[in-house]
Symmetry: C2
Subunit: 344 residues, 2 copies
């Protein structure tokens, strides 16, 4: 087994050096990160800060605007960095959020985790945890540029005897307003390549999981054309799962930015903008009614509402009995949402 430090010297510069490229100092003190540089929580915090910076900078470059950076603390432990660009030239609303929170699991949260099959033995009923992740939703102005969402997260719980339970979750998915098969192919293929490097079943399994998760039951539609989604990933070992999550996180820019550039100058009509607004309404429905992260956030005391709800679009529309005419591009979009397809 190759020692970690040696293995990473080539790929990773030192912590202080890497932090200089972030949107803000990391949530955890740099000296603490340096002191624990081989721990997974440090490696993951560095990865999510880096993913935030890389994505924000790529978006700033194409938009010409600048992200507002809000650093916030959580009374109960930890905090986050929210980057938001609103009403830019290209993006109506772009949010990229990092959070690193810790404390003791609430009874409610522990119950939820047990219901997901976790056996948790706390010390005097207390379960110290760390949860961290990067998440982002980008709503462009032009209806020919799709909305993208991604989230990569890490969870660690310390049990009574000091052993740690940990797992990773995440995913990247695309929500176009109109179907562009070339875009869909590029997006899924880029994800598939990142997955295939780690396990041949990852892409097919996580693609299906994504279609299942982003399902708006009351509409009988998926939110978008999917991508990948996974949770509770804890095998074969921590290093290998982290390496997979790193591949996914580093795939966000190559998945999305080529699509943005391709449609940057596409012209669009009022009708196309209206259809985008109706689709935005469905996006809001999914996020407020079904999304586990949003529901968990809204129900958690001390959570930062503005960071949770920054995923909502700047504008949305609800038309009574809206149904596109047969044979239109709007009907084609709806069909793909009602009958999820294989794009690669």
């Amino acid at each position: 087994r190759v020692p970690r430090a040696a293995k990473e010297t080539g790929e990773e510069a030192d912590i202080l050096q890497r932090c200089r490229g972030f949107m803000s100092p990391p949530v955890t003190d740099i000296s603490v990160l340096q002191g624990n540089k081989d721990e997974m929580r440090t490696k993951m915090e560095m990865l999510i800060m880096e993913t935030q910076a890389d994505f924000c900078k790529a978006l700033e470059k194409v938009d010409g605007g600048t992200f507002r950076v809000d650093r916030w603390k959580r009374k109960e432990g930890g905090g986050g960095i929210s980057c938001v660009m609103q009403d830019g030239k290209v993006f109506e609303k772009a949010g990229v959020n990092v959070s690193v929170v810790f404390g003791n699991l609430t009874e409610e949260a522990a119950k939820q985790m047990r219901s997901r099959g976790k056996v948790l033995k706390g010390k005097d009923g207390k379960l110290p945890f760390v949860a961290m992740g990067v998440s982002s939703v980008i709503h462009p102005k032009n209806p020919h540029i799709p909305t993208v969402h991604f989230n990569y997260r890490y969870f660690e719980i310390e049990e009574e005897d000091g052993t740690k339970q940990w797992w990773f979750g995440g995913g990247t998915d695309l929500t176009p307003v109109y179907i562009d098969k070339e875009d869909a192919f590029h997006f899924h293929k880029t994800l598939k390549e990142a997955c295939d490097k780690h396990h041949p079943q990852y892409y097919p399994d996580f693609k299906k999981w994504c279609d299942r998760y982003f399902y708006v039951r009351h509409r009988g539609e998926t939110r978008g054309i999917g991508g990948i989604f996974f949770d509770d990933l804890d095998s074969p070992n921590q290093e290998e799962v982290f390496s997979f999550v790193k591949s996914c996180a580093r795939t966000v820019v190559p998945c999305y930015l080529p699509i943005v550039y391709k449609h940057l100058s596409d012209s669009f009509s009022d009708e196309e903008k209206d259809w985008q607004q109706v689709r935005r309404g469905r996006y809001v429905e999914f996020n407020l009614v079904y999304d586990r992260g949003v529901k968990f956030g809204l129900a958690t005391p001390g959570s930062r509402i503005e960071s949770i709800l920054m995923s909502l679009p700047l504008t949305a529309r609800w038309e009574y009995m809206h149904e596109p005419a047969k044979g239109t591009r709007e009907a084609e979009m709806l069909d793909a949402l009602r009958n999820p397809k294989d794009w690669v």
Copy 2:
């Protein structure tokens, strides 16, 4: 005790005659209503149909537009009549919905009711029920005309031994974009007068209940400036409660229409329109995250989604970290939502 038929002759014309004024034939066949004219379910269906018609006609008169009328059936029993006016001259979206549904309670619904303290003894596990109501949300275009919502409903369950449990619920509440104390006084006073005719505690109790129910917890704000809200009302007796509900339902037009007429020609700025759109976003948050009726509807198989979600505005807006400057009319509005007031 005055015989019912005699008591009602003066006030109520015959069923066929009254149906002629409705937006559509009632959900239940007229001949069935005529055959059961002394039953509460008939009296309530007539009342909700009448309330729908009176309100729709008053709104059509002020707008100049016409309601689209959709009659729908529910496979499992019953149906409804949805009246919607969209993108009118005065109203951005106006929905007035009647539904009369029946069947056997699902296990989930029975459980919910038991959790609310109802003791229900079913026959072979089956609990036949009838649920009916009229509900409406009106979103005007002009930010100086408030949004209004009302809902009046009746529930009946037949137990094993043939006895019926029944109760009424309902309420009317106002969601302005800017505070107008005169409007708030008029609205609450009209409701108070309707309540006071029946019980001196109704207005104070149901006003508080309304503030409690329409609370957007994650924002720390009420949805609007309230009104009245009540549920599970089953005393002193069925006739008296129905009489109270009738007073409330007949108060909808006098509560709201004078406010609409007063502000019909108010001019407004782009900034005022933006603030309205931000408030609309909060309206969507309440309806999708907390509203019991919406949650119940979205989770119920066979429910008509378009009628449930017709309460959502045509357009809404989510601005990151929106906070009005001190001393502005927007800040005054927010203060009233954060600290519910007594308006009469």
